[in-house]
Symmetry: C2
Subunit: 308 residues, 2 copies
């Protein structure tokens, strides 16, 4: 069984959801009417041996299971409100380690204004499986969907991409990244964002979701990709082109968004680089990368897939 | 490491939660202010080999991971609004089985008015680990806490207790139970409920939570316990007293609540039996059972613990 097939089955059922559902499954968060407000929700898992190595420091695991969800909140330009956590822990885990795990989830949640208000703990003779569900509200910014891109839109990304698994002097981006919540809200208030997604599976695949759900084709230029130092390290080591790392490595947790043609974006917001990398065009859904030598390749084929 | 020790560590941190938290971790649901409303949240896991046997029909597993959470909603007399699900599935699971699992979760959620609006799927080489987070609103009924019992309160339960693991002509209560949401809300509108909990770990332990959090001692009479047919079957088989099964088996998913002394309760609501089984008294937190022969025993010692 592959994740993709199950998700297709899930999305096929969206048409039968009740009218209270504002955003059905398939975007970065789902949403439902709640009193006079809209409740946005996301859930994400971290599985030992799949999403992190068994020797990962426990505080980093606790942080990441929260920040991954916060990156989904950023991808809707929403405001986090609260979180709950479920942990299926190895029976052999020391009490002090379990306490550190919880303390890290709690501190990370609180730092982003979404206190942990509930949880569930189980123990078993298997790997650690953590899940966090996180709730958010629009807070004055209409949630920005993957499906809103228009033909002619500029395609933009925040920060620098690639090499998220590289260890740069103890800093490993996929564990240590900052979810772009403030940045997303600033951008959404400053400019007209037609579509928005966070980059977890690699720009190629994630921009592919915007293309697919907007019914458009994205064309981006390899030479314009903001390449991280970590991507250059990875490229120097494995001999692949650095732009390929930026496009396919995944776990950047930066934002990819589209804005109307002609929008004059700042080159940075709050010290984070903003780069225009391409354009949305009519055509069959997909992503094409133009290389400096003029060659064109299908970027969706390069995207990184979790080892699931 | 034991669940209990981690939970104590978690609850110790409650004092440092922000003012937006209406109900901190430690009750059946947590709650936070959300717009002009209160958002109640619960999360619960089902782990293969811990909460269900590997040969359990997949539809029953999908149903139970939702109904367990719905029972927590009943325990606050709240109204379910929406849910999200996370599944860490064995890589070997057939696509059709994964689809059936999702369909069962979706149908169960919808039947109780809380559409599934999001999820996360992972695959690994280990046991199935499911978690569902469920959101609710008070809907005109102030949430009823475990901590509200008063000295002199009558202790009452809904339905019949014990033997939830027994297979009675294909019906196994721990898989097939009906969460008591409507019943809880009817009771809460009809009577003054001082405290309320759902029975998942066994009456002895769960009433122990009310006693602990209310700073009182519960005294119940074994002869008054509403004993299920399944509990009688179990008792006939293993030679234990049937009241012991009713008190300790767990997974009844009935409600236990306390009402002011002198309250005249109906003997049933909507075909579900309501039974007064004891009284809350001043004294050290705990639960005492009086046997027909006059003997008194500490019921908290009998409570059922998940195999975690």
């Amino acid at each position: 069984m592959r994740e993709f097939e199950l998700l297709r089955h899930v999305y096929d059922a969206n048409a039968r959801l009740p009218g209270s559902v504002v955003i059905p499954p398939g975007d970065d968060m789902g949403a439902v009417r709640f009193g006079n407000n809209t409740l946005l929700v996301t859930v994400d898992q971290l599985v030992e041996g799949v999403h992190f190595a068994p020797d990962t420091p426990i505080e980093k695991i606790g942080r990441k299971v929260v920040t991954r969800n916060l990156s989904d909140v950023a991808a809707m330009a929403a405001l986090p409100v609260a979180a709950v956590a479920a942990g299926c822990l190895p029976r052999s885990m020391a009490e002090a380690t379990a306490n550190q795990l919880f303390d890290s989830m709690r501190a990370t949640s609180l730092a982003f204004g979404c206190p942990l208000i509930g949880g569930d703990v189980s123990m078993h003779d298997g790997p650690m499986v953590l899940s966090v569900a996180l709730f958010a509200e629009p807070g004055g910014v209409t949630p920005i969907l993957r499906s809103g891109a228009k033909a002619g839109d500029l395609v933009c990304v925040t920060g620098e991409l690639g090499g998220a698994m590289e260890d740069l002097a103890g800093c490993v981006h996929h564990l240590d990244f900052e979810p772009r919540i403030d940045l997303a809200r600033k951008l959404a208030k400053m400019e007209t964002l037609h579509s928005l997604i966070d980059l977890s599976d690699g720009l190629g695949r994630d921009l592919g979701h915007i293309a697919e759900m907007s019914g458009l084709h994205a064309v981006i230029e390899a030479s314009k990709l903001p390449i991280s130092t970590a991507a250059k390290h990875a490229a120097a080591r494995d001999g692949q082109a650095a732009w390929r790392h930026a496009l396919a490595d995944g776990e950047d947790y930066e934002l990819c968004f589209t804005v109307p043609a002609g929008t004059l974006l700042p080159t940075g917001v709050e010290g984070v680089r903003i780069t225009t990398i391409g354009v949305m065009q009519p055509g069959p859904p997909g992503v094409t990368v133009q290389l400096p030598n003029g060659q064109k390749i299908a970027a969706t084929e390069l995207g990184w897939e979790h080892h699931t």
